[in-house]
């Protein structure tokens, strides 16, 4: 017999997969915290920042894009709580892909103006943004994977996977907020 009754007092019911994502989010947050710490550590050792001859970081476009990325939390939440998640997920994926394409274009555009090999500023700028975009790219791959799986119907496993992926996206959004504010900080806080 295996029909064991779930204890009604056990209110916390996050599945194990969710806890696994929580561990990933914890360690990745520490990773970004250390990189952001390194950014400010070198910033306070260097003046001017960015160094002379290097353009100030763009502000408007990254902040608008950040706003767009934040908005995708809504379709992700709907997808992970809906009985027909595919439409919501597709909506999120489209907007997130647009965000990613714009950011990659921006990244390449920046490389025309200064490189990571010129100065520690550039090294930090590109490493931070690169790490962040990498996490967005991973999220897109996860979206595509779960969308593919969902074409063959919903299962308990896929529902849990979707929940974990949504959690991952919320974390990516928070990390992106931190990274974007860090790399744009020279423009509005001297």
């Amino acid at each position: 017999m295996t029909d064991v009754a779930v204890d009604p007092r056990a209110r916390e019911r996050f599945p194990l997969g969710w806890w696994g994502v929580a561990m990933l989010v914890a360690t990745e947050s520490a990773l970004f915290a250390m990189m952001i710490g390194a950014y400010f550590y070198l910033r306070f050792k260097n003046s001017p920042w960015p160094p002379a001859g290097t353009p100030e970081p763009k502000v408007v476009v990254p902040l608008v894009l950040l706003g767009v990325l934040i908005l995708t939390a809504w379709p992700m939440w709907k997808a992970s709580h809906s009985s027909s998640p595919r439409r919501w997920l597709l909506l999120a994926l489209l907007v997130q892909s647009g965000y990613f394409a714009m950011e990659v274009g921006d990244f390449q555009d920046d490389l025309h103006h200064f490189t990571p090999q010129q100065h520690a500023y550039g090294s930090l700028y590109y490493t931070l943004l690169g790490a962040d975009h990498g996490h967005v790219a991973l999220g897109l791959l996860l979206d595509v994977w779960i969308l593919w799986k969902l074409l063959f119907g919903m299962t308990e496993y896929r529902r849990r996977a979707l929940r974990g992926i949504a959690f991952y996206w919320y974390a990516v959004i928070v990390l992106t907020i931190a990274v974007t504010l860090t790399v744009t900080s020279p423009a509005f806080a001297r």
Binding site: M1, T2, V4, A5, V6, D7, R9, A10, R11, E12, R13, P15, L16, W19, G20, M23, L24, A26, T27, E28, A30, L31, A33, M34, M35, A38, Y41, L42, K45, N46, P51, P116, Q117, Q118, H119, A120, Y121, G122, S123, L124, T127, L141, W145, T155, E156, Y157, R158
Partner: protein
């Protein structure tokens, strides 16, 4: 209820059986098998680290010796440090002991993520092979285990040595991260019904503390390694002062990892001590909640003290004083534990069997190493003693005395559980005394030569400085320690083949692993027990137990109270973990030889492997 107990056990055995032979070991996801794989692999690395240590001691046995040259010596002490920390103690405590024992102690049938568990082992093994390929190829890391820049930069370390350092540690860090995530979720979520937070065995609290430490400290090292790799290979400037970088950045990031790391090394040893002491003194641990909190607190405080490794670097005095003050706080949880251990022994009825002897040896060495640690709080003393053998003496008392002694004690203590055989007591006690005398002979004179001014990391020294006789003592102590360790393992090997059967519970141990047969069956618990005490095997009541005998079922508990939250399906043996680790190893190999195109191909292979991994869904509930 129509099924009998025999039926149920027979069904469990059929369902949980793994493939026979070598293939079974390569694809295993059983936490006990993974734990044993960890055990044997870490022993090989321990042997390698030991050979490196004895080679260094032989080189230093007399002045102006020329057994090895300076470059070889640099690689020896660097790889010795890396091996003992990253390929012996962490994987031995979290990987071998943690993996094998944690599920047994919390009443689970496996770790929370069994395939990820196997993955972490194969990554760990591959990373160690990777490091030693570097060493045998003449490219062993050679700038010390903390690889300070600018010494570790391309300018001063132009060959691949430091690349093997950055990549092997980053590779290894992945394994430790996976293990720690697995341990945390296992302890938080896979506990038996009724095992509320205050009933978790202290060993598991220690594993929880070490795992949280790893989860939050390793990223700092990873960032440091990434920065150094980019500096060295792609011309970035994180640590290049001429272009706005800073060498202090390396040190801050390194020690923000490196100091918690010290506690990550010793906290599992504390956990082992808190299991052995009750078993051999026939009393519950004194101040149980305080000890549990102290185990967590020691790691937590460990995150705020890193700059005490940088007292001699010219940081502002205010910073030094702050970190000296913060460091002194570590005394509080440490002292709580020392008193709890000693008073439990004093107020109990101790039986001085080998495991308890190792724990008493551990307490002695920990107090000695702790006291010299407090001496380093005095900033002028630290500045005087930095980079002398006094430091080497201090941290070997902690790392060998405090971290490794309980590992040896734990090997004896759980040997009957793992093998079903008893070890031989007399040779066990002899091995303890040889190791105890050997290590003190090895490490105590290092205090004195340190005070006499002998710097660490020198490959030789001139005669006539008064250092020679101490160095002879140290080297002899090293050989004696090595001999003692050989006696220990000889005892265990002979006991494995010739030892008398131990039965399930030879010590009348306090925790759940002693309630099941030795060696434990694949499914661990035929029925999942309900827990009413932190010392579950010492309570007389027999509460009802859960019968989970269809498929790979696992009880999932609520976070705090241990109430049944879910019955989960656990995955079975899988070939994907070892394939993924192989692909990762090839990726890292391409990175060390700057073949980025091939590296990206292997990144795609990794993604495909992950797709394969997740292609088959576990059985559905509905």
């Amino acid at each position: 209820m129509t099924t009998t107990v025999a039926d149920r056990v027979e069904r469990l055995e059929r369902q949980w059986a793994e493939r026979p032979g070598v293939l079974g070991w390569l694809t295993t996801t059983d936490h006990k098998r993974v734990g044993l794989l960890y055990f044997w692999a870490t022993l090989v690395f321990f042997g390698a680290g030991g050979v490196e240590a004895l080679t260094m001691r032989t080189q230093l046995i007399k002045p102006n010796n020329s057994l090895v040259g300076p470059e070889t010596f640099n690689q020896l002490f660097t790889v010795h440090g890396m091996t003992m920390i990253f390929w012996f103690i962490i994987p031995m405590t979290t990987g071998a002991f943690g993996n094998y024992l944690t599920p047994l102690m919390v009443g689970a049938r496996d770790m929370a993520f069994p395939r990820m568990n196997a993955l972490s082992f194969w990554i760990f093994l591959a990373s160690g092979i990777f490091l030693y390929i570097g060493l045998f190829g003449g490219f062993g890391p050679d700038a010390g285990w903390f690889d300070y820049t600018p010494l570790g930069s391309r300018l001063y370390d132009p060959a691949r040595n430091a690349d093997f350092y950055t990549l092997s540690l980053a590779f290894n860090g992945m394994a430790s991260t996976l293990t720690s995530a697995n341990l945390i979720v296992t302890i938080l979520k896979l506990r038996a019904p009724g095992m509320s937070f205050n009933r978790i065995p202290l060993f598991c609290f220690a594993m929880l503390a070490a795992s949280f430490g790893l989860l939050f400290a390793l990223p700092s090292l990873s960032v440091d390694l990434l920065f150094l790799y980019l500096d060295r290979n792609l011309g970035f400037h994180f640590f290049d002062v001429a272009h706005g970088g800073s060498n202090f950045l390396w040190q801050h990031l390194f020690w923000f990892f490196g100091h918690p790391e010290v506690y990550i090394l010793i906290v599992p040893a504390f956990g082992i001590a808190t299991e052995i002491i009750p078993a051999f003194t026939r009393r519950k641990m004194l101040a149980f909640p305080l000890v549990a909190i102290a185990e967590l607190l020691v790691v937590f405080i460990g995150f705020g003290v890193w700059a005490h490794h940088m007292f001699a670097t010219g940081l502002p005095t205010t910073t030094l004083v702050f970190f000296a003050g913060a460091t002194s706080m570590v005394v509080i949880p440490s002292t709580i534990q020392v008193f709890a251990w000693s008073m439990s022994i004093f107020t109990g009825t101790p039986k001085f069997k080998t495991p308890l002897l190792f724990i008493i040896g551990f307490i002695v060495m920990f107090v000695a190493g702790g006291l010299t640690g407090i001496m380093f709080l005095a900033i002028p003393f630290d500045q005087q003693m930095t980079d002398t053998y006094f430091v080497v003496a201090h941290f070997h008392y902690i790392i060998f005395g405090a971290a490794v002694f309980p590992i040896f004690g734990g090997m004896y203590y759980w040997f009957p559980k793992v093998t079903g055989k008893l070890y031989f007591e007399r040779p066990g006690q002899i091995s303890f005394w040889i190791i105890f005398i050997g290590t003190n002979l090895l490490f105590f004179p290092m205090h004195i030569v340190g005070l006499l001014g002998m710097p660490r990391r020198v490959y030789t020294y001139p005669g006539g400085l008064g250092w020679t006789s101490y160095n002879v003592l140290e080297s002899v102590g090293g050989y004696i320690t090595g001999l003692g360790i050989l006696v220990l393992f000889a005892n265990l090997v002979v006991s494995y083949f010739r030892g008398p059967p131990s039965g399930p519970d030879p010590w009348h141990g306090p925790t759940l692993e002693w309630t099941i047969p030795s060696p434990p069956p694949e499914y661990n618990f035929a029925t999942i027990p309900t827990v009413t005490s932190a010392y579950a095997n010492w309570t007389d009541d027999t509460p009802p137990s859960l019968e989970l005998d269809v498929g790979h079922k696992q009880h999932v508990s609520s976070l705090v109270d241990g109430w049944t939250a879910e019955i989960a399906d656990m995955p079975h043996s899988s070939p994907w973990p070892i394939l993924l680790a192989l692909a990762l190893a090839l990726l890292f190999t391409m990175l060390v030889i700057d073949r980025y195109m091939f590296a990206s191909i292997f990144a795609v292979v990794i993604a495909l492997t992950l797709l394969g991994w997740h292609s088959k869904e576990p059985q559905e509930h509905a």
